[in-house]
């Protein structure tokens, strides 16, 4: 017997009380609970209290048109299935109310055939059950779509580079930021896209995570598709399938370039301060001495000593003032003191400084200066260190390459056009691979594999930029390198007061 709960209750409604009694009996024997109504208002009241899975009703109520009744029931309870009772004389009237969307899908002609009635009632219940299932599935699907969207948005909006890799380091997925800066190369190798390498990196954290299932962290320098280097902090996470096996690893990298740039600025500030300290101490001592001698001179009425001492005090006060001012300027970027110099004379001074080292190491320093290169507006002290660093680096590259070649040479040439002076330094030393080339001007955190990426080159690049110039590098491993330093002849206003 069907259980007597509201899920198997049926509401029957007709103006004819006799029909209702018969129906109640018949349907009751089928095992359903039956509620009778003889007015439209009765129907209305009942459905406010309970939700009926099936309602069997005539549409001939005095104060309500058939269509209105169906609408009322459907509005109150959209899951209710309605079976219409029609008069034997006018079965066509029912046809126009057949509307599965409103729950009306069957009609019975009076007098009702009880076999047909039972079938129709069962069908109605089944239909309702199916509809409930569809409705639940739709809700679950919507919920799933919403979380899927949320996850996707989260994945894409996180301000980190996220890539997902399989055991072969192939990228199977990446977030928006990764694609923007490194390209949409799903299926490519991580080490190729991130580092421009042909094989996996030495201490790859993704590899370690695949091995031990733990998180791993490193700091790296990666290069975006526009050639810019980025210092990043990388964190890897294992992704497991439903059996708990690691099938992919997620790699998240946070860009800390800004932090490292700040750090390198502070470091170079520290270095500069360290270098100046000795100088300042000397000036202070001289100043103290000047004042002491001034006192002596005044005490002994020695006009010559007074005059001399005063001169010392004036000179040293001026020097210490310029030092402190330039130091203050450096904390917000040092102001360059541009002077007009003859480019060839300047280049010769640079060559002189490095000539001894080249000679001691049996490396030929080949000079080729265009004598009519002309004048250039530069800060000679700082550009001097910039050029010396690069030459020094080239000499080291030759030393490192020994004894692969018979002769080692560093060429230093100077050319000028209307707007620029170009210094070119070419060596046939050990050369650099793409990865090293891209990292060479950064203040690289990790010092492993540091060929050609010393602090000197970082400073050279910095000084060059301060002058409004640029450094181009060409290099091939085993063959050598060429550095092209282009400096504008006239220093622009904005570089002057940088």
């Amino acid at each position: 017997m069907v259980s007597q709960d509201k899920n198997s209750s049926i509401l029957i409604a007709d103006t004819n009380e006799e029909i209702l009694d018969v129906l109640q009996l018949v349907i009751g024997r089928m095992g359903y609970e039956v509620i009778k109504c003889s007015t439209a208002y009765g129907i209305f009241s009942e459905i406010q209290i309970e939700t009926y899975p099936v309602i069997i009703t005539s549409l001939e109520f005095s104060n309500l048109k058939g269509g209105e009744l169906v609408d009322m029931i459907n509005k109150q309870s959209p899951s209710t299935q309605i079976i219409i009772l029609v008069d034997e004389h006018s079965p066509d009237t029912a046809l126009k109310y057949l509307d599965k969307d409103k729950g009306v899908s069957d009609f019975l002609t009076k007098p009702v055939n009880s076999a047909a009635l039972e079938i129709y009632i069962k069908r109605a219940f089944k239909r309702r059950e199916r509809q409930q299932k569809i409705y639940t599935l739709e809700r679950e699907r919507d919920s799933f779509e919403r979380s899927s969207l949320q996850f996707r948005q989260l994945f894409d909006e996180i301000p980190c580079y996220i890539s997902i890799q399989d055991r072969n380091f192939r990228i199977t997925g990446a977030n928006k930021l990764f694609k923007k800066d490194f390209g949409d190369y799903i299926g490519s190798y991580c080490y190729n896209i991130y580092k421009h390498r042909d094989e996996p990196c030495q201490e790859c954290p993704v590899y370690f995570t695949f091995q031990d299932g733990n998180h791993h962290q490193t700091e790296e320098v990666v290069t975006s598709k526009d050639g810019k280097p980025h210092n990043v902090l990388t964190w890897t996470s294992p992704l497991r399938d439903s059996d708990g096996n690691i099938y992919q690893v997620m790699e998240m990298s946070t860009d800390i370039s800004l932090l490292r740039n700040l750090q390198s600025h502070l470091t170079s500030l520290g270095l500069m301060m360290g270098g100046m300290s000795h100088n300042i101490r000397g000036i202070m001592t001289g100043l103290e001495g000047g004042v002491y001698r001034l006192e002596l001179g005044l005490r002994k009425d020695n006009k010559e000593q007074v005059h001399d001492a005063l001169g010392t005090v004036k000179e040293l006060t001026f020097r210490i003032k310029s030092m402190i001012l330039s130091m203050l300027d450096y904390t917000k970027e040092r102001q360059l003191s541009p002077t007009n110099v003859d480019a060839v004379k300047f280049a010769r001074q640079v060559a002189d400084i490095i000539a001894l080292k080249a000679e001691k190491n049996n490396i030929e320093l080949k000079i080729d200066f265009n004598e009519s290169a002309g004048m250039i507006q530069i800060d000679p002290d700082s550009l001097n260190s910039c050029m010396v660093n690069i030459l020094d680096n080239s000499i080291d590259a030759c030393i490192d390459d020994r004894p692969r070649k018979e002769r080692y040479q560093v060429g230093f040439s100077l050319r000028g056009n209307n707007d620029y002076i170009v210094f070119e330094i070419a060596d046939n030393g050990v050369g650099m691979d793409q990865e090293t080339r891209e990292k060479m001007f950064t203040l690289f955190f990790s010092s492993k594999g540091n060929k050609g990426t010393g602090f000197g080159l970082f400073l050279s690049n910095h000084i060059c930029e301060q002058h409004g110039g640029s450094i181009e590098v060409e290099s091939e491993p085993g063959k050598g390198s060429v550095f092209r330093v282009s400096i504008p002849r006239i220093m622009s206003e904005e570089n002057r007061t940088l």
Partner: protein
């Protein structure tokens, strides 16, 4: 006979300062502007005490001091280091004292007095 102090420093302002300071306090002075010429001055003047700067362009302090120690006649001349380099305490271990610029005048004079009188 007055005691003689040799002042070695590449900064002429400091040489003038120390010269006037020592002379005012009854010492005789001589000077050298670099480690490279200092040895000649030592041989010529035979000072009783040397004040030595460390950071000089041609030949710096410690190099000169090594040379000094190789000469039996001069290796026992007391040396006071006066330098602008901080953290130079152990540059010349056998120095009587190491002063960092700017130095305390009175302290320097006291050390000189205690060493040679």
């Amino acid at each position: 006979m007055a005691l003689k102090i040799l002042i070695i420093d590449d900064d002429p302002n400091i040489v003038t300062y120390l010269t006037d300071l020592f002379q005012e306090n009854g010492y005789e002075t001589c000077s050298a502007l670099d480690g490279s010429e200092a040895m000649d001055v030592v041989k010529k003047e035979t000072p009783d005490l040397i004040t030595l700067d460390l950071d000089m362009p041609e030949e710096w302090g410690p190099r000169f001091y090594r040379k000094l120690c190789q000469e039996d006649e001069y290796k026992n001349i007391p040396v006071i280091v006066i330098s602008g380099i901080t953290g130079c305490k152990y540059a010349i271990q056998k120095a009587v004292a190491t002063l960092v610029k700017p130095f305390d005048r009175e302290r320097l004079l006291k050390i000189v007095k205690d060493t040679i009188g």
